[in-house]
């Protein structure tokens, strides 16, 4: 693969990751959001594979396969189950409306660019130049967490955050050591499973998964 080709594909993939993140902010249909998450998972796996080609490391191919399984298949499946059980198809009115959310997303992306300047400066290369994408996805994920009302949306926000970090890890360091990567993936999976159980219990106790109901513990 030529350098230009690599850079173009890399930019395409990264652009795709950022685009899916923004779309998730835009869409209100939960099923659509889960589909976007699948797309993002595939793109992440692609990114890992791309790094693998670049570094010619088989380890990264294994990681890419793992990412594909976890982020594009297992986790969305869990989310779909939550979605099916809950019977709530749409996100309720978010705390910040979509227009403002998109504006905020723009600002957050700008911040991510500003922030990654010192990171890029350490080792300028096409790969690290794409770092802002990872950071932007992290911030967008956090934004989703703060503004979306449904339990499922918050899980999505968390996954978005995690995808952003994964992207950052691939772009900056071509992946963390395998043992760490394994631990992290296991943790993420378990957290999502725990949340799934909790969402189910929440529905049992509260009748819905609107997080505004969780206001009993307070000072």
């Amino acid at each position: 693969m030529t350098d230009t080709g690599y850079v173009q594909i890399l930019d395409l993939v990264c652009g795709g990751i950022l685009l899916t993140a923004v779309l998730m902010l835009w869409r209100r249909e939960l099923a659509a959001i889960v589909r976007l998450l699948v797309v993002q998972g595939v793109l992440l796996a692609l990114l890992a594979a791309l790094m693998g080609v670049r570094e010619s490391s088989t380890e990264l191919f294994v990681v890419a396969a793992g990412v594909l399984v976890l982020k594009a298949i297992v986790l969305p499946a869990v989310l779909r189950r939550v979605l099916r059980d809950s019977g709530e198809a749409r996100e309720a009115e978010p705390l910040v409306n979509v227009t403002a959310s998109l504006l905020a997303a723009a600002l957050l992306t700008l911040l991510a660019y500003g922030l990654s300047r010192p990171l890029v400066a350490l080792a300028p290369s096409p790969t690290t130049r794409a770092l802002p994408v990872g950071l932007a996805v992290v911030l967008l994920g956090f934004f989703v967490l703060v503004t979306r009302r449904r339990a499922l949306s918050q899980v999505v926000g968390f996954l978005l955050l995690d995808n952003g970090i994964t992207a950052t890890a691939f772009l900056a360091t071509a992946g963390v050591p395998l043992v760490v990567e394994l631990g992290v993936s296991l943790d993420v999976l378990l957290v999502v499973l725990v949340m799934q159980v909790l969402a189910a219990r929440m529905r049992l106790s509260f009748g819905r998964t609107d997080l505004d109901g969780l206001r009993e513990l307070r000072d």
Binding site: A172, V179, D187, V191, S205, L214
Partner: protein, 512 residues
């Protein structure tokens, strides 16, 4: 003493003994957990958790003896114990012994009262030892990435412990706990990734490293630009687990909903393990960045946490939440020590962690008993306890006294040393702010507990809904509490066995 030390050193030289010392505290709880998986909640199983805790404690003591002179135990490339680790192992062991010991009677009471069933008890029996394993792994891991994963694992393991009681509030508390902690810890992961990134360009090699000792050795090579982004992420991220501002909000909910022994473990150890992570990172950060940056960042977070705790304690109405906010306050104080970072400060903050762990273990376990006896967690629902339940209320009162920093308990000594260290570092203003906030905390907590404890037992003073009180605290429930208080008092008076270890630990983590 010398003989033991020599034996351990000899053993450390040959690998297997070190392996045993470092693996035993992880495996013993797993054995206890498997026992619970297999047979459910039985008398023997409940005591096996205590036994596992004792194993942790003993390993901590052995590790302490082996590392007090500055040497390091390692197993493979993954587990590593120096004096700082040994201190943390001791903290985990001590608090775990008290918590699991009082957990024995706690779960029995819960079962008897119908608050939980056999499944719940079995889950408790499985998860608590796993929680211990995760924390032990976090302090033993030589790789900072593994340490991160272990700390995140504690969130997962404890999720269902927090929700142990079931019901709406349990779900609510668990959701907040899992969500906020996962997000926070994810930020710490981002920070870890960035540190790894910096390490790849620090002359360690193309692959870089997350091994702490390697990082420390090359810390001055790490790129300051990257570290300036990474360090705040780490502080915020691990700060979440440590219950620091601004991601502290999970803590009062989780601590007030979890079963008392679990609250004790979370408050007494889990928070400290997160602080331990920050302490490790601080060594790297200070070498890579200028001291002033790290100090201001941590100091702001620390003082904000103390201020928040003071504000929330003033009008507090729930005694378990009161204890939770007090944990935030104490973690804030510990973080002041981290900010200062001189050897004296590190010694003091480690002693503070130990003292706080013990005091909180005693207090949360006692508060569980109060809840069992009074049927409410409202401060206003408990009146004249000292007259009706002298032993229980007495331990609670002494625990609060210890928490508020009264001698002979060790928290007084460590707070004083923290103040001295901060003033020596030219941060007298921070000491002043912290002391004034501590005064507010003192008045608030003393006022609330005085309302609970003192007063007569005249019939008119008891609210009508209180159940007929249990005549007195069962011996098996009282013993761990009294033991904890005695340990706390001894720590505050006698310096001898611990001081050398603390000094060795502060030589590792302290920078002047």
């Amino acid at each position: 003493m010398m003989a033991i030390s020599e034996m351990v050193h000899a053993a450390a030289a040959s690998g297997p003994a070190a392996t045993a010392v470092l693996l035993a505290p992880m495996l013993a709880p797993l054995v206890a957990a498997s026992a619970a998986v297999l047979v459910g909640w039985r008398r023997a199983v409940s005591w096996s958790a205590v036994a596992a805790s004792v194993v942790i404690l003993v390993s901590g003591v052995l590790a302490a003896v082996a590392t007090a002179d500055g040497s390091v135990l390692t197993v493979g490339g993954t587990l590593r114990a120096d004096a700082l680790t040994a201190v943390m192992l001791l903290v985990i062991g001590v608090v775990a012994v008290i918590a699991t010991w009082s957990g024995v009677s706690y779960i029995d009471q819960e079962l008897a009262a119908g608050h939980t069933d056999g499944r719940g008890a079995r889950r408790y029996g499985v998860l608590v030892p796993m929680f211990l394993t995760a924390m032990v792994l976090a302090v033993l891991a030589s790789n900072l990435g593994v340490m991160w994963a272990a700390i995140e694992a504690t969130t997962i393991v404890t999720a269902f412990l927090v929700g142990h009681r079931g019901g709406r509030q349990a779900v609510e508390a668990t959701w907040k706990y899992v969500m906020i902690c996962s997000v926070g810890i994810a930020l710490a992961y981002l920070g870890t990734v960035l540190v790894y990134y910096a390490s790849q360009h620090a002359g360690i090699g193309e692959q870089g490293s997350l091994d702490w000792s390697v990082l420390v050795a090359n810390a001055d090579q790490l790129d300051p630009g990257v570290m300036r982004v990474a360090v705040p992420l780490l502080v915020l991220g691990f700060g979440t687990k440590a219950g620091l501002m601004p991601m502290h909000s999970w803590l009062p909910d989780a601590h007030s909903q979890a079963p008392a022994p679990v609250s004790a473990l979370m408050s007494g150890v889990l928070l400290s393990v997160a602080v331990y992570a920050l302490l490790r990172y601080r060594v790297v950060a200070v070498a890579a960045l200028d001291l002033q940056f790290v100090r201001s960042l941590i100091l702001v977070v620390a003082l904000a946490s103390v201020a928040l705790a003071a504000s929330m304690l003033l009008a507090q109405r729930d005694y378990k939440r009161l204890l939770a906010y007090s944990s935030i306050e104490h973690m804030g104080l510990v973080m002041i020590g981290v900010a200062v970072g001189t050897p004296l400060a590190v010694t003091a903050l480690l002693l503070h962690i130990l003292g706080h762990g013990l005091a909180k273990a005693v207090l949360f376990c006692a508060s569980g008993q109060i809840l069992a006896s009074e049927g409410t967690t409202q401060i206003s629902g408990v009146r004249g306890l000292l007259a009706r339940q002298p032993v229980l209320a007495g331990t609670f009162a002494l625990g609060v006294a210890a928490l508020l920093g009264l001698p002979p308990f060790s928290i007084f000594v460590s707070e004083l040393a923290l103040a001295r260290a901060a003033a020596d570092a030219g941060l007298a203003w921070a000491v002043a702010v912290a002391l004034v906030l501590l005064l507010v905390v003192f008045v608030a907590v003393a006022g609330h507990t005085a309302g609970m404890l003192f007063g007569g037992d005249a019939a008119g003073q008891r609210p009508p809904h209180t159940p007929p009180h249990t005549p007195s605290l069962p011996r098996v429930a009282a013993a761990p509490l009294v033991t904890g208080l005695i340990a706390l008092a001894v720590l505050g008076v006698v310096a001898w066995p611990l001081e050398q270890l603390l000094d060795a630990a502060s030589a590792i983590a302290g920078t002047s």
